[in-house]
């Protein structure tokens, strides 16, 4: 499958994503994992690698890996192996990182992405459990390096894709979908600023039909924007090299967000020999089918299944259903509002329209929306029963969002937005308007539709906007027709 060509080259991208798992304690110790604590206040004897300490696997981390595997249709290894990756670095207390190497817990699986309306399946190679290292702090220590081991031992799920992506847009779509999945599953908080979700991108270019080119790995991209920029820059750089007849060496590169450029950090020649071997402190991780089934039973409904249900049961279009399942919070909001008013389509319209517009403008998450689902439902109910017009409802929504009030009916009354639904009163106004606008009546009868609109406008004006326009035009039509 060939993707869009750039200067005649095909781009090949594979992603390695580190998702920090949302366990309260670390993967091999009892220390807490909360972000932002004072340096080394969340590092216990195991994290410090004091003599005589041993790792014990946190089952919560395994359950999160199982959840992920179930969500992406992966194979769950009945026996996976923890290995030691040996290298010296001051923020790596044991002198090795415990990771999974030859036999990872999650094997294969797929992620569906949509780019420009085209669906595509990205295959996963694997996902494995491992511990994070600590942090070296090179500033603020007067020429010395500070070591903070709070992060040491934080559980990570490293998700490795096949080199299936053919553009930075696909890479971003994949990363977004993965992000949505892990957050949806409740296995990762998805906070990219805090490093809870970060990507390494393996990028190469080739002439269509040629074998894979040599790849370079861009490390530690912690925003979708950087992911896109870094790949775009890297692709141009690699094509320039090729066009100049220069070889591309396998290398690890860093992206500088300030310059928008990638720069080589180390080449393959500097590659360390990590001397992987099975960790003798940890028996193979055995996952019995019963454990998998228990986790399956505790899984939230997945976005795909939920969207199908919205289409089937709520009558939403495929597009609307996918919008309602853009995140678990969004879906929960939708369901709560729908249940409260029984108007799925209207709820969806509101959420995609006014609601999303404001969330986007203010950069808010739906969980932090100032209008709660029952309130939105109450407003929609008032539109449906004719109490308020769509225009009026938007004004009420404005007031609700900006905190002028919480009660829909009170705001409608306060703002005088209640529509005239008393037929007798409306009839009287309609009769008066017909009597006072003989010319418009004549024009209408002569076939000018515009004149009818003027009459409706007069009714609305005479009712001070409180007439229901649909009701008003119906009444007008019947009276004019009968005359």
């Amino acid at each position: 499958m060939t993707g869009p060509l750039i200067r005649g080259y095909e781009v090949v991208i594979g992603l390695e994503t580190h998702a920090q798992l949302s366990t309260a304690s670390k993967i091999f110790s009892g220390a807490a994992t909360a972000f932002g604590a004072a340096p080394n206040s969340q590092a216990c004897a195991v994290d410090l690698a004091l003599p005589g300490t041993l790792p014990v696997l946190n089952r919560g981390a395994v359950e999160r890996a199982i959840r992920f595997a179930l969500a992406v249709g992966a194979r769950i290894a009945p026996h996976s192996i923890f290995a030691r990756k040996n290298y010296f670095y001051p923020d790596l207390p044991k002198g090795y990182q415990i990771s999974q190497y030859e036999i990872p817990v999650v094997q294969a699986g797929t992620v569906e992405i949509v780019v420009d309306g085209h669906k595509k399946t990205v295959h996963l190679t694997r996902a494995h459990l491992e511990e994070d290292a600590g942090k070296s702090l090179h500033e603020d220590y007067h020429g010395m390096t500070g070591i903070d081991l709070n992060r040491a031992g934080t559980p990570l799920l490293e998700i490795v894709s096949e080199p299936d992506m053919r553009s930075s847009a696909e890479a971003v779509a994949y990363a977004r979908e993965l992000h949505k999945t892990v957050v949806w599953l409740g296995i990762c908080d998805g906070n990219m600023q805090e490093g809870s979700f970060r990507c390494d991108a393996n990028v190469s270019v080739r002439r269509p039909g040629a074998p894979f080119g040599t790849r370079r790995e861009i490390k530690n991209l912690n925003s979708f924007k950087f992911l896109q920029q870094a790949i775009d820059f890297e692709v141009q750089w690699q094509i320039d090299r090729q066009e100049d007849g220069l070889a591309i060496e396998q290398a690890t590169v860093l992206f500088n967000p300030d310059t928008g450029e990638t720069r080589a950090m180390r080449s393959k020649e500097d590659a360390q020999d990590y001397r992987y071997f099975p960790d003798p402190d940890l028996p193979p991780l055995a996952i019995a089918p019963q454990w998998v089934e228990r986790v399956r039973g505790e899984m939230p409904e997945l976005p795909g299944a939920m969207a199908s249900r919205f289409e089937r049961d709520d009558g939403l279009s495929a597009y609307d259903a996918s919008m309602m399942t853009q995140s678990l919070d969004f879906a929960r909001y939708y369901e709560a509002a729908r249940d409260a008013c029984g108007q799925p389509k209207l709820v969806a319209n509101w959420l995609m329209g006014e609601f999303s517009k404001r969330l986007n403008t203010e950069g808010r998450d739906i969980a932090a929306a100032p209008v709660a689902p029952p309130t939105l439902a109450a407003l929609i109910a008032r539109v449906v029963d004719g109490t308020v017009s769509n225009n009026g409802a938007r004004q009420v929504f404005d007031a609700l969002w900006s905190g002028q009030g919480q009660h829909v009916d009170a705001l409608i009354a306060e703002k005088g937005l209640k529509q005239l639904s008393d037929t007798g009163a409306l009839e009287k106004i309609v009769d008066e308007v017909i009597a006072a606008n003989a010319r418009s009546v004549d024009e209408y009868r002569a076939g000018k539709d515009k004149a009818f609109n003027a009459l409706v406008g007069q009714v609305m004006k005479a009712s001070k906007g409180q007439a229901n326009p649909a009701q008003a035009s119906e009444l007008l039509k019947s009276k004019l027709g009968a005359a």
């Binding site: 004897a45 410090l48 690698a49 004091l50 003599p51 005589g52 300490t53 041993l54 790792p55 014990v56 696997l57 030691r84 040996n86 010296f88 001051p90 207390p93 044991k94 002198g95 090795y96 070591i147 020999d273 001397r275 992987y276 071997f277 960790d279 003798p280 402190d281 940890l282 028996p283």
Partner: protein, 496 residues
Amino acid sequence: MPLHQAGVAALGRALATRQVSSTEVVSHLLGRIEAQRALGAFLQIDAARALNTARSIDERRASGQALGPLAGVPIAHKDIFVTQGVPSTAGSKMLAGYQSPFDATVVARLAHAGCVSLGKLNCDEFAMGSSNENSAFGPVRNPWDTARVPGGSSGGSAAAVAARLLPAATGTDTGGSIRQPASFSGITGIKPTYGVCSRWGMVAFASSLDQAGPLARSAEDCALLLSAMSGFDERDATSAERPPQDFHAQMLAARAGASPGTPLAGLHIGLPREFFPAALAADVNGTVRAALAEFEKLGATLIDVSLPRTELSIPVYYIIAPAEASSNLARFDGVRYGHRAAKYSDLLDMYMKSRAEGFGAEVKRRIMIGTYVLSHGYYDAYYLQAQKLRRMIADDFQQCFGQCDLIAGPVAPTVAWKLGAQDDDPVKAYLADIFTLPASLAGLPGMSVPAGFGAGGMPVGLQLIGNYFTEGQLLHAAHAFQQATDFHARTPRGFE
């Protein structure tokens, strides 16, 4: 009988019946330890705390509290166990003065049982060695002949128990480090099945092999200690999940079909022909054979078996153990604790100088071997091959246990050698581990039981190996032998 001649069981009884107080025993032994400093057995003497603990146990007993069989019994720990309040060095300059913020599980459990720790015992650096000459803090001397080594790596433990400085001590065994010094020093030691004792708080040498156990003067004393120090520990993922064991009761339980004269009737003891090679020292061979004849008298049946890969256990062990060690010892980098070079130019220089200064020659040798066998391109040829052979060695044992209940043979090919005798040839020392390595690689329980005396009046140990989790049966057989013999009760001249 002088107090220092009493073993764990005897002392426990005397303490329980208040014939003697813990304070008296502890004071007496502290005096002996002080007088025998030249043996080099102790690295730390924790006199003040030991006396305090003894006093508090005496008070509890005086107030009528019911205490266990070990309450008030003095012991000491191999310095491979970390202990709060007293330095834990693993016999290495790297950890000189290192203070652990926690106690090893074995240490905590023995303290909970009322054992009074008198201090920390010398050992080969990071438990690597079989003569105790690799300690950064000087060698230990064998009480039977102070020109000779006590064995290793639990040399301080063995020498202290043999010299009657302690009724018992803890040790660890990775490739024979309990059994061989017990054999060289004429005492009794047991390495239980891998997983019986928690490794939490043991400074790791080779994680898949390291196992704690007691060194004492009799199988009975070992049984009492092992019951207290063993058991599942959730902090060690490799510890065996099984209920607490009363090894003393298991040791005493009579065999079906046994009679007072033949307590071992029906017991089949397999003698692997590979454990009796032509090169086996004549004195060792003779002493072991005589001890086996005694087992026959006690009702046991001796049969010939084979462990065909016995010789291969040496290269297999000397690949796997250094591989694990090279990784386990990476944490000693001078960054967070332990020795850091005084002067260095950059990070790499700090690592290199700190480790070059902090580690001794044998530790460096094993780190280099281990690093090499795990390296890219060598892993398959060495480490992976060794793992496959390790599995086959374990399978060989299971073949044998289809025919016999226990396996017996010598612990070591010779009696204890002279200090310095193997300085020039580390490989020669590795080869001397041949009879203890197979059980270590298989994870099986093994014991050393005093069997008599060889050349120069030096002790010779008989090795008994059982199937997984059959410590009770091992101890039962050893106990029967010790009821019929007195080799285990002999005291080196000058230490009576």
